[in-house]
Every structure is written in structure tokens, then in C-alpha cells.
């Protein structure tokens, strides 16, 4: 497979002096279910808006579906479905009219797909968009992003406002699309969402990608979460961090040599102990704390 869904090469965007993204490198393969993780203000939306041509980069290059973002914006948009984090529509229009407008702007008849999606998301097409709740407006955005069966789905914090049942339905639609060959690019600050659904993920911090790997690999970093009850002192374990004392128990992340850990612990009096893989959240938080030195 030669063509990548998304490539960004040293992409930079400054708003005046304010940083949006600063030397971002990214590769997303076609067919990936890709997670894009980062806290608010890290540059997630800036990256997406640059890729879709809403804003132009200060420097650097990027391609979407093999096409240059500067030169082929129109052709890219024809094949991409985009769900913005903040969905706004034209007041006074009904849901049905918005969906029709979106399809007409793509010169496609999507009425069948729209019917199906509205049915699954339980969206009433005869309501006016300004009367809809935030979650229901989000559903309109979802249908607009999906109804033309795009090759690449770009979703910017898609689950805000959706109740758990709807989130479940939404993700199963995404999984189906992904199985049918569509690439999904999902930006989120909710790590469990990424961990549950994505196969690969990139972590963005202060405008740069600080880690990019399969979600399994990201989760299985050498660090282990150790929880124990006993008389262990922090000073004996130089390679631990995130030290938490919970009553008579302690919990910490250990990233040093396991043998050293076992030797140290064997000298102590331990009543109970678990060693587990940390979850993605702990790893990502670790990336943020350490400024991404592992990238």
C-alpha cells in the first residue's frame, strides 16, 4: 500500500506569536483506526484544521490521501468526512435540509445512507437545528460526516454531548466503516476511548508529536504499576515515580530493572503485592510530565 491516509512533515502553524503546532510529524496508514491524544490546547484541532485547509500552515508540508493540502484541498474534501468539535449549522433550517445541503454540496445523493444513520442515531429530521440540544446537533454533524461514505473520517472530539448508549452506537458505526476500508482519525482527550477503539495512536504535546505507536505498544511500555502493603521506603527504589501512599499501602510506577525491584522487595516485609501494566492514561500523563523525552 503506497498511499498513506495522512502524512505531515515538520508542519508548523503559528497564530501571530501564539503556537498552534510546532514541527509536527505524523503518519497515518490507510485503514488505520487512529487515535490522536492530547490535552486541550496541545494543537489537535490546529492539526486537523490545517490538514483540511481551513487554515494554512506557516511552514512544512502535509498530504491527505496522497494529495498536497495546499494544492488539492477540494479533491481532499471530496473524499473526507469531518466532524468538528463544535458543530454549528444555519439557523432556521431543518435537520433534513442541512443533510440535503451537505449532500448537494458534494453533488451526491446520500438520502439512503442519511435515513439509515438517522435511524440508528435516533435523530429527528423534522426538527429545526437551533432547537436541538448539543448532543443532537452533534448527531447532525455525524450524519453529515458519514453519509457520503468517505474514505477518511476525521473526527474532532466526537463524543462530547452524546450519552453512553449513543457513544456505543456511534463507535460501532465507526468500526463497521473501518472494517469496510475507511480510515478513521479520531482526536480525543479521553484516553479510555482511544484505548478501547483505536489500533494506533499518536500523543501530541505543545504542538509536537511525542509518541506514535500501536495502542498495545504504547500501553506496554517498560513501566509497571506496583501496588503493595509493607515497609518499603522510597529511597530504596531510585527508578520509581508517581509514588502514592494509600493508608498502609503504597503504589508507584517502576521503570527500572525488574531484578533490582525484586531484590529490594525481598529484603522488606511485604504482606500483599500486585504488579500490573499501567493503563494508557498513566503512560500519557507520564509523557506530559517528562516533556516527551521518550519520543
Amino acid at each position: 500500500m503506497g498511499i498513506k491516509a495522512i502524512t505531515a512533515d515538520n508542519l508548523v502553524k503559528y497564530y501571530g506569536k501564539a503556537r498552534g503546532i510546532d514541527g509536527l510529524n505524523l503518519e497515518v496508514e490507510t485503514g488505520d483506526f487512529f487515535g490522536f491524544i492530547g490535552p486541550n490546547g496541545a494543537g489537535k484541532s490546529t492539526t486537523i484544521r490545517t490538514l483540511l485547509g481551513l487554515i494554512s500552515p506557516t511552514s512544512g508540508k502535509a498530504q491527505v490521501l496522497g494529495m498536497d493540502i495546499g494544492k488539492n484541498n477540494r479533491a481532499i474534501l471530496q473524499r473526507v468526512g469531518y466532524l468538528p468539535s463544535d458543530t454549528a449549522f444555519y439557523n432556521g433550517m431543518k435537520v433534513r435540509e442541512i443533510l440535503k445541503l451537505s449532500a448537494d454540496l458534494r453533488k451526491k445523493d446520500c438520502s439512503k445512507a442519511a435515513d439509515e444513520l438517522c435511524e440508528r442515531l435516533q435523530l429527528d429530521r423534522d426538527r429545526k437545528v437551533e432547537d436541538l440540544s448539543f448532543g443532537n446537533r452533534k448527531k447532525v454533524g455525524i450524519v453529515c460526516a458519514l453519509q457520503h461514505d468517505p474514505e477518511l473520517l476525521v473526527l474532532d472530539e466526537p463524543t462530547g454531548g452524546l450519552d453512553p448508549l449513543m457513544q456505543h452506537e456511534f463507535f460501532s458505526i465507526l468500526q463497521e466503516r473501518n472494517q469496510n476500508g475507511a480510515t478513521v482519525f479520531l482526536s480525543s482527550h479521553i484516553l479510555s476511548e482511544i484505548q478501547r477503539h483505536c489500533s494506533r495512536a499518536a500523543v501530541i504535546r505543545e504542538g509536537k508529536i511525542i509518541a506514535c505507536d500501536s495502542v498495545d505498544k504504547l500501553s506496554e511500555s517498560s513501566a509497571r504499576r506496583v501496588t503493595l502493603r509493607g515497609n518499603v521506603r522510597r529511597e530504596d527504589l531510585p527508578k520509581c515515580r508517581d509514588w502514592k501512599e494509600l493508608g498502609d499501602a503504597v503504589s508507584f510506577l517502576y521503570s527500572g530493572d525488574i531484578n533490582t525491584l525484586i531484590r529490594t522487595l525481598s529484603a522488606a516485609d511485604i504482606q500483599d503485592m500486585t504488579i500490573a501494566e499501567p493503563d494508557l492514561e498513566e503512560i500519557v500523563l507520564h509523557f506530559y510530565e517528562k516533556g516527551g523525552e521518550q519520543a
Binding site: Y15, L54, N73, L77, D86, A88, F89, S102, D104, L105
Partner: protein, 261 residues
């Protein structure tokens, strides 16, 4: 075409209200004319001898007692101000309102180039101005015929044409400004229209400020010149055309590379 249809659908209510408001005022004034005509002889001489005030509104050179004179002044005030405000609002909102209402992100992530979007928006602004002026012109001609006066076709049409061009100019200039805004610009649009109107009044008041008439589009909508001589000032028109084209060019130049918020 989808975009133009969408724009017109969104704008038709405002267009209807403005057209009815301006049209009905003109009809009412024309229907009042026969009754006023008899009393005009005295009023005309009073109006024309109020010095600076008379010249500000062109009352010194227009005969209020004749239909042409009456219409030149009355039309100037209704269609002039009303049309200018309408065109300014239309132009200033065209591009800026998309960002103000957060719909720019929706529109611009569909496969349409910025150039296509600008062209469609500009076209719909122009179409709406054409519709308003066509309807108002028809209403004016019909009500003149209804009161049993001979329709001064050439003068009427020229005067309406001048105001039509004024609206096109103002609409296009505001359209150009609109490309730079992201919070909507109603105040800027209305302010500009009113400022240009007063510029014309000041220019008429004092000889030394006459150059202002070459800047404001109201300068080529001089009712007395059009009604008495039956011509438009081609120099002022050309300057107006330059402003119009500059506004359009500005919109394309800015909006094709604008960062959307």
C-alpha cells in the same frame, strides 16, 4: 448553483421586507402627489429659498411642484438611504456571518474551493440587489401611471439605475470588507452607508467640499442633475466602478487565503 440557491433561500425574508418597505413608501408618496401638487406652488418657492439647507438636498435646482422634481427628491431619500442600508448589510454579512455563526467550518469542509464560495456569495448579493431594484422600479412606474401622470421613462429609469449602481458599489465594497471580519460587521456596514450619505450632504453644502461627491456614490445619484439634464456624471461613475472592482478584488484576495476561525 447549490450555494446560490442556499444563499437566496436564507436571504429571501430580509429581501422581501426591505423590498416591501422601500416599495410601499415610494408608492405612498407617489399616491400623495396629486393632492400635494396643487399646494406645491407656494411650497416650492419656500423650499428653494432656504439657502444652504436647500442646496444640501438639491431643493434649489429641483422643482418640487413637478412630478420629476418631486420624485427626484423623494426617491433620493427613500430608495437612496433604504437601498444603501440594504446593500451594505447584505455585503457586510456575506462572508463574515459564516464565521460569526460558526457555520464557516461546515461550509468550507465541503468540496468547494474558496473561489467558488466567494463567487456564489457575490452572485447572490448582486441577484438580491437586482430583485429589489426591479420590483421598486416597477412599483414606481405603476403608481405613476395609476395617478394619471405621464411616466418620464428616461429620467425615472436613469435615477433608478443610479441608485442601483450605488447599491452595487456599496454592496461590493462591504463584501470586500466582509472578507476581513470574523465577528460580523453590521455596525461597519450601516456606519459606512450613513457616512457616505452625509458626505454627499456636506459636499452639496459647501463648494470647498465638492470633491467628496467624487468619493461617495451618492455623488452620482444627484437627483437634480439626472432629472434636469437626463445624464449621469460619467467621471463619478467611473470612480464608483473602481471602488466596486476594488471591493470585489479585495474579497477574492483576502478570502482565498484566510485562516478560518
Amino acid at each position: 448553483m447549490t450555494l446560490i440557491r442556499h444563499e437566496l433561500k436564507r436571504g429571501w425574508k430580509a429581501l422581501l421586507i426591505w423590498t416591501l418597505a422601500i416599495g410601499s413608501f415610494i408608492v405612498i408618496c407617489l399616491l400623495m402627489y396629486p393632492e400635494m401638487k396643487g399646494q406645491m406652488d407656494n411650497i416650492s418657492s419656500i423650499f428653494s429659498s432656504m439657502g444652504a439647507f436647500s442646496s444640501a438636498f438639491g431643493l434649489d435646482t429641483l422643482d418640487f411642484g413637478s412630478l420629476k422634481g418631486f420624485y427626484g427628491i423623494e426617491c433620493g431619500n427613500i430608495l437612496g438611504i433604504g437601498g444603501a442600508l440594504f446593500a451594505a448589510l447584505l455585503g457586510i454579512g456575506a462572508l463574515a456571518n459564516e464565521e460569526k455563526n460558526g457555520t464557516a467550518e461546515f461550509l468550507l469542509t465541503h468540496p468547494k474551493s474558496r473561489t467558488e464560495i466567494i463567487t456564489a456569495k457575490l452572485a447572490s448579493v448582486l441577484i438580491q440587489i437586482v430583485i429589489l431594484n426591479l420590483v421598486v422600479w416597477l412599483l414606481a412606474v405603476a403608481s405613476t401611471a395609476a395617478i394619471g401622470e405621464a411616466v418620464p421613462w428616461k429620467e425615472f429609469t436613469l435615477l433608478h439605475l443610479a441608485y442601483f449602481l450605488l447599491q452595487i458599489e456599496l454592496g461590493c465594497v462591504c463584501f470586500g470588507i466582509s472578507a476581513f471580519l470574523w465577528k460580523g460587521g453590521m455596525g461597519i456596514g450601516l456606519g459606512l452607508a450613513i457616512a457616505l450619505y452625509f458626505m454627499n450632504i456636506i459636499a452639496n453644502l459647501t463648494e470647498s467640499a465638492d470633491f467628496l461627491n467624487y468619493i461617495t456614490p451618492f455623488g452620482y445619484c444627484d437627483g437634480s442633475a439626472i432629472m434636469n439634464k437626463g445624464v449621469l456624471d460619467s467621471c463619478r461613475l467611473l470612480i464608483g466602478l473602481a471602488f466596486t472592482l476594488a471591493g470585489v478584488a479585495l474579497a477574492y484576495w483576502k478570502y482565498t487565503k484566510k485562516d478560518i476561525r
